[in-house]
Symmetry: D2
Subunit: 357 residues, 4 copies
C-alpha cells in the first residue's frame, strides 16, 4: 500500500511554488458538486488537477458538462481505471452518487490512494442504518470501518490521518454545527428531540432532470418533503449522539425553496444547565474555527452572505427553555465541495483555508 | 344604530341580479391586501364596490396604485368621511396598517357601518398584549371588546352577528389551522411549546419600500427574522389557548423566501392521547369546511397549489411523540383579503364561497 | 355534417342560466395550455366541460396532472373516441402538440364537431412552409384549407363561421398585434425587415422535462435561442403579409427569461407615410377591441400587469424613421388558452369576454 | 505631477510579494460596483487596498454596507481628503454616481493620483452630449479632454498611458463588443441604424431603493424602459462612430428581467461587404483578447456562463442582409468593476488577467 505522505511546508509564508503540489482526481464529473470542486481546485495553489473520471462515453471534455469551466479547467474526462488513477493522484474526490460511490472508492483505496467521498456511502458506521435509509446492502464493508466523518469542527485530528473521509451531507452540516455547542457540552435535554427545519435551494438535490425540479415547479413555490423521514436525519442524530456520548433524537423537516444554492437551518434545542449568554458560549466554542462565524445577538444569518463561501454563519437566542439556533451555508461549498477541499487540506497538512478564501 | 340587515335571497337559482347587493367600501387602497380584495370584490356577484378611501392626495385613481386593476375597477379614491362612507356602505374592509386602523374603524362603527379590519388592531382582547407587541396604547378600547376574531373555522357563529371582525394575520391563519384539530380536542401536551416555522413570500410584509425587500436583497436568499419574537406568535398562542381553554405556548420562527405570495408553515405538536391515524382525524375535524383541504397520508402541500385561492391545504404525520403538520396558504388570500371576504359572506348571509371560487 | 349551431341569447342581461350551454371537450389534458383552458372554462357561465381526453393510461383524474384544479374540475380523463367526443361536444379544444394534433382534429371534424386547435398544425395555409419548419408532411390536407387563423383582431368574421380555428402561437400573437396597426395601413417599409425581439417565460415551452428548463438552468439566467430561425417567425410573416397584401419580412429572436408566464415583445418597424402621433393611431386602430390596451405615450407594458389576463398591452413610440412598439401578453392566456376561449366565444355567438374577465 | 510608475518585480518566482503592490483606493463604497471591486482587489496579488472613502457618516465599517465582505476586507471607511488619498494611493477607483464623481476625480488627478472612473462622467468627449443626456453641465472640463474610454479591446494602448480612464457603461460594453468586428471593418451599412435590445438584471440599476426595484415589482415580470431613449445609446453610438470614422446610429431598447446580475444583448447589424463566415471573422478579430470568447456557430451565450467573470461571450449568425450578434456579460464585472480592474492592470503593466481569473 502506498501512503500518500504529507508534503511538509517548510518554506514559511504561504509556501506557494515551494512544495510539491497535491495531485487530485475527481470521480463523477457531470454533477454540481464536481463542478464546484473543480472551480475551487483550479484556483488552489497547493494542488493540481490530475484525472477527471466520468462514466459517460466517449470521454467528453469537462466543459460539455459545465460550460462555465471554460478557461478554467481544460481536460477531457477519462474512463475509470483504479490503477491509473492511483498512479497519477495523491487523493481522489468522489462526486459519484450514493450506492455507486462505494463500488469505486474501495478499489482506489486498495490501489493506494486516499479518498474523500462526497456521497453518503461511508457516513454511517452502522451498516444497518445505511441499509434502512438507502435501501441497499453496503457494498464495501471492508473499508467502512476506517472511514472518518469529515466534519472538521469535530474530527480534525482523525481527518489528518484518514485514508478515507466521508464528507458530510449538506443538511447535516448546517444542523449539526447549529446544535453542536450545546449538545457537545451536555446542555441539551435528551428526553425530547431536537426539532430542526431547513430550507434548501434546488441544487441540493443534485442535477436530476425530473419534473419536481423544473423551473415551473419550483419558481414561486415552497414545499416540505420527506417530513420527519429524510435520510439526513439519522446522519445528524448519529453525529450528535457520538459527540454527546448517548442517544440524541432529531426531528427534521426539509423545505425546497426557489433558489439555486443555500441552506438555512433552524434548530430548536431543549436546554438544561445552559449558560445565560448563548452567543458568548457559541463564540467561545467555535473560537479559532476558520469557517464558522457566530453572529452578534439579534443578528441572523442569510444564505446570500455565505453564498459561494465555505462559511457556516450561526445566530442563536434563548426562548423560554429552548435555544433557537439558525445556521446558513452554501450547500455546494460548506455543504459539499468546499468542505471536501477543507478535508483535503487537513489530510495533506496544507493551510486549512487554501483555495477557500 | 345598526342597519346592515341581511338581504334575503328569494330568487331561486344563484340569485344573481335578484337580490340587493351588499355595498362594500375599502379603506387604505394603496397596499397589496386592498388590491387583492378589490380583485375578489369586482368578480363577486353579491356585492358592489362603494367607496375607495385613501389618505393619499389628491384622490388618485385606483389604477395609479394598481395598474393590474385596469378594466376591472374604475374608481377614484376619496378622502375619509365616516358619515359619507357609512351612508353609502353596508360594510367596510379596512386595509389600513395597524396602529392606524383603529382611528378609523371606531368612527365607522359609530356611524352605523359593519367593519372587517385586516390590521392587527382588534385581534387581541387583552390590550396589554397589544401594547407589548405593537408598542402603542390601543386607541379604540370602546369597540375592542366586541371584536370577533375572524377565523371562520373557529368563530363562524359569532362572525355572523359581529359588527366588527378582526381578520387574522397570515402566519396565525396557517399555523393555527395546522394545529387546531389537535389542540381543540385536547390532544396536545401543554407542558412544552408547539414549535412552528413558517416560510413566507415577500408580499406578506406589505408594500414597504425598504432595502430588505429589494429584489437584490431577497432573490437567491433565505433568512430568518424576529426569531422567537414575532408579533404573530402571541396571536397564535391566544387563539389556541382560547380554543383549548388553557395556556398554549407557541415557539415561532418566520423565514423570508424569494417568492411573491405564499406561506408554508410546519407545526410540531407534542401529543398525548392522540388517535393513530392523524390524517383521518384532521379530515373528520374539517369536514364541511369549504376552504380547508386535508391531504392524503404522504402528500404534502405546496404553496403553488393554493396560489390565488382561499384554500388552506394541510398534510399531517406522526413522528415519535409528535405530530408534524404542514399547511400552505396564499398569504394575501386566505391569509388576508380572501378570508376577509369569507367573513363578509358570513356576516351577510351570502354563500360562503361567493367570489372565492 | 353536423353544424354546431349558435345558441342565440334571447334573455337580455347576461343571460346566465337561460341559454343552453356550449359543451366543450379538451384533448391533451396534461400540459399547461389545457390546465389554463380548464381554469377558464370552469368559471365560464356559457359553457360546460364535456370530455377530457388524454393519451395517458389508465384514464387518470385531471388533478393527477394538475393538482391546482382540485375543487374546480372533477373529471377523469378518457381515451380518444372521435364519435363519442363528437356526440357529447359542440366544440373541442385540442391542446395536443403539433405533429400530433392533426391526427385527431380531422377525425373530430369529420365526426361533426367544431375544433379550436392550439397547436401549430393548421396555422400555415402553405403546406411547404409547414413541412420546412416542423419537419414533417402535413397529415390532414383535407381540412387544412378551411382552417381560419384565430387572431380575432384580424379574422373575427371568418372565425364566427369557422369549423376549424388555428389558434395563433404565443410569440406571433404578441409580435403581430404590436406591428399590425402600421402594417395593415401600409405604413411599414417593405424593403427591410421588421426586427422583433421577445422575452418569454418558461411555460411558453410547454411542460417538457429537459435540462434546459430545470430550475438551476433557468434561474439567474437569460439566453437567446433559435436566433433568426424560430418557427414562429414565418407565422408572423405569413399573417402580416396577408394583411398587407404583399411580402413582409420579420427578423425574430426569442429570449428565455427566468419567469413562469409572460411575453414581452419589441418590434422595430421601418416607417413610411406614418402619422406623427403613433399612440393615437394605435388607439384608434384598436378601438372597440376588448382585449387590446394601448398605453399612453411614455408608458410601457409590463408582463406582470397582464399576468393571468387575456389582454395584450401595447406601447409605441417613434425613434427616427422607426416605430418601436412593445407588447406584453400572458403567453398561456392571450398567447394560448384565453385566445382559444375568445375564439370559441366568437364561434358560438357568446359575449366575447365571457369567462375572460 | 504624475508618479504612477511600474514597480519592477525583482524577486523571481511568480512575483507575488516580490514587487511593490499597487495601492488602490475606492471612492463611493456603499454600492454594488464597489462591493465587486473590493472582492476582486482583495484576491488580487498585485494590489493592496488603501483607503475606502464614503460620504456616509460616521465612517462605517465596510461590512456594514456589504456583510458578504466579512473575512475578506476589514477596513473602516474614511471621509474624502484628496491629498490624503493621493498620498496613500497609486490609483483610485471611483464608484460614485454620475454627476457626483467629477467633483472628486478632478481633485484626485490634481493631487497626483491616477483614476478609473466607473461613472458616466468622463465617457463623452462632447460636453453637450453629456449635458443633454445627464441633465447637468459637466463639472470638470479641465480633465475631460484627457479621459480615455476604457474599453481595452479598442483603447488598450491609450489606457496604458492614461491618467484618467472612463470605464464604459454596462450596456455599451455588451452592445459595442457585439457589433465591433463588423463596424470596425466597415462591414456595417450606415444608412440605417443598428438595432439593439438588451436584457439586464436588476443590479445594473445600482443600489436604489425605489418601488420599481422591489422584489414584488421585478419578480415574475419583464418590462422595457426608456425605449429608444436610454442614456447608454449615445455612448454606444459615440464609440462605434469613432471606431468607424463616421456617424453610426444605434436604436436601443433595454429590458429589465428578474435576475440579479447579467446582460444579454442582441445587435442587428445591416451588412455590406461582409464575409460569409461571420463566426470566423469574429474569432479572428478577437484573437488574443483575454476576455472575449466567440462561440461556435449555432451556440448562443447565456448570462449564467459568464456570471461572476470578466468574460464577454459572443455568438453571431447571418440572417438575410443582417448579422445578428448576441453577447453576454456580467454587468457588475465586465460591465463595471472587472473591466475597471482590467484597465488598472493595463495602466500599471500588470498581467491583464491578474485578479480576474
Amino acid at each position: 500500500m502506498r501512503v500518500c505522505a504529507h508534503f511538509k511546508d517548510t518554506s514559511g509564508g504561504n509556501g506557494v511554488g515551494r512544495m510539491k503540489k497535491i495531485r487530485v482526481s475527481v470521480l463523477g464529473v457531470s454533477g454540481y458538486t464536481a463542478r464546484e470542486a473543480l472551480k475551487i481546485l483550479a484556483r488552489h495553489d497547493g494542488v493540481e488537477i490530475a484525472q477527471l473520471v466520468s462514466r459517460s462515453e466517449p470521454s467528453p471534455h469537462v466543459t460539455q458538462f459545465h460550460p462555465e469551466l471554460a478557461g478554467l479547467v481544460d481536460k477531457r474526462c477519462r474512463t475509470f481505471d483504479a490503477r491509473s488513477v492511483a498512479a497519477e493522484s495523491d487523493v481522489v474526490l468522489s462526486c459519484l452518487p450514493h450506492k455507486t460511490s462505494f463500488e469505486y472508492c474501495g478499489k482506489l483505496l486498495d490501489a493506494g490512494c486516499r479518498v474523500v467521498d462526497l456521497s453518503a456511502d461511508y457516513r454511517f458506521q452502522d451498516q444497518e442504518t445505511y441499509k434502512h435509509w438507502y435501501g441497499v446492502e453496503h457494498g464495501d464493508l471492508e473499508h467502512l470501518a476506517e472511514a472518518v466523518y469529515g466534519l472538521p469542527e469535530i474530527n480534525r485530528d482523525r481527518i489528518r490521518e484518514a485514508r478515507l473521509v466521508a464528507n458530510p451531507g449538506c443538511y447535516p452540516t448546517a444542523v449539526t454545527l447549529a446544535a453542536l455547542p450545546l449538545v457537545a457540552k451536555g446542555m441539551a435535554r435528551r428526553s425530547i428531540p431536537l426539532i430542526a427545519v431547513a430550507a434548501s435551494g434546488v441544487s441540493g438535490a443534485g442535477r436530476k432532470i425530473i419534473e419536481q425540479f423544473m423551473f415551473c415547479s419550483v419558481h414561486e413555490n415552497v414545499y416540505a418533503y420527506k417530513v420527519g423521514a429524510h435520510q439526513h436525519a439519522p446522519e445528524m442524530a448519529a453525529t450528535l449522539s457520538e459527540v454527546r456520548g448517548g442517544r440524541v433524537e432529531v426531528l427534521f423537516t426539509p423545505y425546497l425553496v426557489p433558489m439555486d444554492r443555500g441552506i438555512l437551518a433552524t434548530v430548536h434545542v431543549p436546554l438544561k444547565d445552559a449558560p445565560k449568554n448563548l452567543t458568548e458560549h457559541y463564540t467561545e466554542f467555535y473560537r479559532g474555527e476558520p469557517f464558522v462565524r457566530v453572529l452578534p445577538p439579534g443578528e441572523w444569518p442569510q444564505t446570500k452572505y455565505v453564498w459561494g463561501t465555505n462559511v457556516c454563519a450561526i445566530g442563536v437566542t434563548r426562548v423560554g427553555d429552548y435555544a433557537v439556533a439558525v445556521s446558513a451555508i452554501d450547500n455546494l461549498i460548506k455543504g459539499a465541495s468546499g468542505q471536501a477541499v477543507h478535508n483535503l487540506n487537513i489530510m495533506f497538512g496544507l493551510n486549512e483555508t487554501a483555495g477557500l478564501k
